[in-house]
Amino acid sequence: MVVVFLLIRAIPGEPCSAILGEQATVEACERFNEANGLNDPIWVQLAIYIGNVLTFNLGESIQFSVPVSQLLIERLPLTIELAMSALIIAVVVGVPLGIIAARRHNTAIDAGTMAFANIGVSMPVFWLGLMLAYLFAVVLKDTPFALPPGGRLSAGVISVPYYVVWNWNLTEGSTWAGINEFVGNFVIFNSFITGQWSVWWDAVQHMILPAITLATIPMAIIARITRSSLLEAMNKDYIRTARSKGATETRVVSKHGLRNSLLPVVTIIGLQLGLLLGGAVLTETVFRLAGVGTALFDAITGRDYAVVQGFTVIIAAGYVVVNLLVDLSYGYLDPRIRVSK
């Protein structure tokens, strides 16, 4: 947290000229700095910042003129939905691909799958996004496969938050209202639980292309790791034992091989989070989505200290949570880890 604070302050260039424009007068800049506390000594700024974070006050965005927490409420749900959809696609497609390649080791299927995986990791995310958008929005325009090339919902489609649908009485500006607004911004989830099916379908359609785009690289990596990990597991003695006691091949693979080969796969899935966030910047740019990635990009290039700090703290927290989940899953996948504390 402190590192982020100092690193961001190290970026040269005045936030004043980035916000007010290059021609801002000295007096205007002075007033701007005073109002935003940028004239205080750096350690005072740091102390105020730490105190604020501990009370969940992430400061105010200089660029968007809204509190950072409000920006997070608006932007974070989209990115979480995008990253989750991408991760689900990557796992649901990547793991079976890896298994198939390993089971048909040294055949054309294996070679084809691995060629696909190699091409997958070599593709620029933004290029794939643009090409998919062209394919599904222009080439397949009048077919049932047509998909929208960008945005979150079609023009005119509005997702009504569940707390409005269900007539909840929320006090404006309270934490509880903020939490509900945050949850309500998960458009796919919100329209699902409130039964706004046309909105739900529209949101899902808008999410398909960005999710596939973002999923491609993790999918290829997961397929490769699954394949090599399963190949290694299938050479172990316990597989021979399982076979010799007469277990069916399906059972040998699923119960003995796969279970033992999943550990590296789960680790890799956890590590993909950083890649997904980097990819989210490019994917959100290509598909014109207002998510965390684009907000963070604008904030970094616009010297919007509060936003960069706030978002980085959230991202770091996300990292910690995901890695915790990964560690916990080790115990489930490998009982030896659970036993040895």
Binding site: I11, M123, P124, W127, L275, L277, G278, I300, T301
Partner: protein, 317 residues
């Protein structure tokens, strides 16, 4: 009796020596043979060599200079579709096998020259990252103690950020441009080299030949530069090859966001970014630069994988 045994042992080892001298196979020859046996690695090598050839011979291959605007020189407009005479394009039209871009420049020539930018960038970033990273890693592993701690904690901090976001932040500090993008990508890739080098040094430090050199009175410097580092380089070669691929991909990403190469330089990422809003009307201007990036990255990835398999026989299946 014992003497006889010793002599026999010596003789058998001598005959083993003879066997070896009949078929002298150095470590490198072995590696090369194993690499040749890997089809995908060879494909990667061929792709990389072709790309290097294309970059070196760009003026001979490209029909036009990369930044030549063809207005008034030929009867072509901006963003013309590809025209290839062999594929039935009328002979009276000038041939542009990848069409023309928004500024009426020959797209194919720009793609060919783009190989120079991407390859140079890939090699330079990796060289910087390799030198800085392996020096830091060797220092950390060899000295240990607080130096090790400080260096590796800094590396952990750098690794803690998503690499593209960190690169964006560094370019924001230094200002957009190809050179700064190069530095940013080099910085974010340093930790990988440092960690691998440190791990290598830690294990080699304990080996018998290092102990032997220490016993013979070698200085720390002699040990580090003469014994440890040369033996630790193998995995770094693999990492560097794969690193070129990552560097090219990340540089293209930065250029796409407008932070890397600036127009009119013929760089694939920025060519793609310039025309991205026209993807629905002139998809070829997005398609070709992307394919060029993909093939280049694929080439280095395949070559790196092949090298890794060749250098580490335990992975051979």
């Amino acid at each position: 009796m014992t003497n006889k045994k010793t002599v026999e042992a010596l003789e058998s080892s001598a005959s083993a020596d003879n066997l070896l001298s009949e078929r002298p196979t150095s470590q490198w020859a072995l590696t090369l043979r194993r690499f040749r046996g890997r089809k995908s690695g060879m494909i990667g090598l061929v792709i990389v060599l072709l790309l290097i050839g294309m970059a070196l011979l760009a003026p001979l291959i490209a029909p036009y200079p990369p930044n030549e605007v063809l207005i008034g020189k030929e009867d072509v407009g901006p963003r013309e579709k590809p025209c290839i005479h062999l594929l039935g394009c009328p002979e009276d039209q000038p041939q542009h096998i990848m069409g023309t871009d928004g500024n009426v420049r020959d797209e194919f020539s720009r793609i060919v020259y783009g190989a120079r930018v991407s390859l140079t960038l890939g090699f330079f970033t990796v060289t910087i990252a390799l030198i800085v990273g392996s020096t830091l890693g060797a220092l950390a592993g060899f000295t240990g103690g607080w130096i090790d701690n400080v260096i590796m904690r800094i590396m952990d901090v750098v690794l803690g950020f998503p690499s593209l976001l960190l690169a964006i932040a560094i370019v924001a500090v230094l200002g957009p441009g190809l050179q700064n993008a190069l530095i940013a990508i080099a910085i974010v890739s340093i930790p990988a080299y440092a960690r691998v080098m440190r791990a290598q040094v830690l294990s080699i430090k304990e080996s018998d030949y290092v102990a032997a050199s220490t016993a013979l009175g070698a200085s720390s410097r002699q040990l580090l530069l003469g014994r440890v580092v040369p033996n630790a380089l193998t995995p770094l070669v693999v990492l560097a090859t794969l690193g070129v691929a990552t560097a090219i991909l990340e540089a293209a990403g930065l250029s796409f966001l407008g932070l890397g190469a600036q127009p009119p330089l013929a760089e694939w990422g920025s060519m793609l970014a310039t025309e991205r809003n026209n993807v629905f009307t002139s998809p070829h201007l997005v398609f070709f630069p992307g394919i060029a990036i993909m093939i280049t990255v694929l080439g280095f990835n395949l070559m790196g994988d092949g090298l890794r398999d060749a250098l580490d026989p335990s992975l051979n299946r």
